[in-house]
């Protein structure tokens, strides 16, 4: 028991190292591109790292396996974080990353499933990913597949009505193979979510739509991993409200709303990389 715990904490330290590497990729990609969304990419890195390096049953060698777990990045503007994770996981060469947002690059500003191996859904227009996740979870049930579907939403995104249409449907169809993760960094483009359009009580909203709800620290793997692995136990879909910090890992970006959609300059980027333990 103790040994298992020690092994797990060793693995979590490995995930932390991986997440730090992913964050460095994100900063470099945005520096190269000269545009993009650092804040919401950095807040989602630990969740994505846990999914792709520990939780999800996926195989980069066989990306079309019908029984693979699915991930939908409903908050498509966090694409740099997803691309970095997919590259590190072996879905495509890491060298692709510097082409982010360039003309002709597979790495579009928002994910395009037709261009990038491992991307399961084209997203970018907020509010749509959970509906797609509901469809994928229904498909898994129909096929009798044990695969699971994970959807990452922004907290501001939960202001879209379609999210609640999808939440209602998932509760109705008792999709216990579906997990919605809300990246609760409390900031959206125009400011604090609670000032722009209050989301609280957010957990109660998901519960009211017949979801099982867990609240976690979205930067602590000891909380992230067990929460993601809890899927399937209840006869309900699972919502994980992951409390995160926008811009996590870079001191001058943390909790700063202005870093939602602005790329770092070269100078800022190098400073950020230094903080993240890069060169």
């Amino acid at each position: 028991m103790l040994l298992a715990k020690l092994n797990a904490s060793g693995e979590y330290r490995e995930l932390e190292r991986k997440a730090s590497l992913i964050r460095q990729h994100v900063i470099r990609m945005l520096m190269h591109a000269g545009s993009g969304h650092p804040g919401g990419s950095l807040s989602a890195v630990d969740i994505l790292t846990a999914l792709y390096f520990r939780v999800m049953r996926i195989d980069p060698e066989n990306p079309q396996d019908p029984d693979r777990d699915r991930f939908v990045l409903s908050k498509g503007h966090a694409a740099p974080a997803l691309y970095a994770v997919l590259a590190e996981r072996g879905f495509f060469p890491v060298s692709w990353l510097e082409s982010l947002r360039r003309l002709g690059s597979p790495l579009q500003g928002h994910p395009d499933m037709r261009k990038v191996p491992g991307v399961e859904m084209s997203t970018g227009s907020l509010g749509q990913g959970l509906s797609v996740g509901v469809g994928m979870a229904l498909a898994a049930k129909l096929r009798g597949s044990g695969c699971r579907v994970f959807v990452l939403l922004g907290d501001g995104e939960c202001q879209e009505g379609q999210v609640w249409e999808a939440a209602m449907a998932a509760g109705h169809y008792r999709l216990n193979n579906l997990v919605a993760i809300v990246d609760r960094n409390r900031l959206q483009i125009d400011g604090e979510t609670e000032k722009v359009m209050a989301l609280e009580p957010l957990a109660a909203k998901w519960r009211a739509f017949n979801w099982s709800v867990i609240e976690i620290d979205g930067h602590n793997f000891e909380e992230i991993v067990p929460a993601l692995e809890r899927v399937g136990y209840a006869q309900k879909p699972t919502a994980i409200i992951a409390h995160t910090v926008k811009g996590k890992g870079v001191s001058f970006m943390e909790n700063q709303v202005d870093w939602h959609g602005v790329a770092p300059t070269k100078e800022q980027g190098l400073q950020a990389l230094k903080e993240l333990g890069g060169r």
Partner: protein, 321 residues
């Protein structure tokens, strides 16, 4: 003769046939399954039928997720809700990723009747036509709707099928396979081309008969695939007759008339009259009354045809050597 049937009935019957043939076919609806006729499939294959409730955006998203997992979803609701309430969902989650979603949209056009403008889709074809990679079908009768639905299931990629509410006469043979992207020439003629889609094909045929009584020979084209448009057939008849009238139960902005005008103005600029709803909204009324009010009867087509034949300098037949 068989009695008139709504195109949505042909759709509903075809879905049942598809359900038997292919277990990858699933059907979704948004609380209108009796109206859209998906109820037939729901009864026979309840495990493959999903009701989204009154939630069209989620209807389209769910269909996209099913398609991304290898199923062939037919998502149905009224044309006005499918296209207007879920346009961004169709753009982002269906057309952009090129997913294999079929949208069966009933109650297209003004012949919805008494429910009025809020329920009459007069811009759905324009909206769907503007989406890259979207295939747009407008069957003329229940037989063609049946065949078009079967063809849509075989077609790889998103398809929009526009269906109607009222029973309309059967004018195409029941067993004629539907070829996506091909105009059907229902009548040949040298004086004018009548290009129509949906319920207006029958109207164009009636007009052609009346024109014949008046000494004119009209070609009648059933443009049941609005996109990709069969340019070759259209240009052949436009150049042979030198005059074209389009007839559609849709705004003259963005639908069949626009599609034909785009091709003709670039490739074969002949006189053209577009008959359709003229940049206005529908209203309540009986379908026939509405067609009369908006100028979509056989008489209106005859009048337009005579006018355009005169504009191009008379009938072609007499000047032939």
């Amino acid at each position: 003769m068989t009695k008139p049937m709504a195109t949505r009935e042909g759709y509903g019957q075809a879905l049942v046939e598809l359900g038997r043939r292919n277990e990858r076919v699933v059907v979704l609806d948004a609380d209108l399954s009796k109206s859209t006729q998906t109820v037939r499939f729901a009864k026979e294959f309840p495990e493959r039928f999903f009701n989204a409730g009154v939630a069209e955006a989620n209807l389209i998203g769910m269909a996209a997720g099913l398609a991304a997992s290898g199923f062939i979803p037919f998502a149905s609701t009224f044309a006005i809700f499918a296209t207007q309430r879920a346009y961004n969902q169709i753009f982002q989650s269906v057309a952009y990723p090129g997913l294999n979603v079929k949208i069966g949209a009933s109650h297209g056009g003004i012949t919805v009747g008494e429910d009025g403008a809020s329920h009459q889709a007069i811009d759905d074809l324009a909206l769907m036509r503007a989406l890259p990679g979207m295939t747009v079908l407008v069957p003329a009768d229940a037989h063609e709707a049946y065949q078009a639905t079967l063809a849509a299931a075989e077609w790889e990629g998103p398809v929009y099928i526009r269906l109607g509410r009222p029973a309309v006469p059967l004018i195409t043979p029941p067993d004629q396979p539907f070829t996506i992207g091909r105009i059907q020439v229902l009548r040949e003629g040298d004086d004018v081309t009548l290009a129509a889609c949906g319920h207006m094909v029958k109207v164009a045929l009636e007009a052609a008969e009346e024109l014949e009584r008046r000494g004119y020979k009209a070609a009648v084209l059933n443009v049941s695939t609005l996109k990709p448009l069969d340019q070759e057939t259209l240009l052949h008849w436009a150049s042979r007759t030198g005059a074209v009238v389009t007839v559609e139960e849709h705004s003259i902005i963005g639908g069949l008339g626009s599609a034909v005008a785009e091709v003709l103005s670039e490739e074969c600029p002949v006189p053209l009259i577009r008959l359709g709803v003229r940049d206005t909204f529908g209203q309540s009324g009986k379908p026939q009354e509405l067609l009369h009010h908006y100028g979509l009867t056989a008489d209106n087509v005859v009048e337009a045809a005579e006018k355009i034949i005169k504009r191009k300098g008379g009938k072609n037949g007499q000047s032939d050597t």
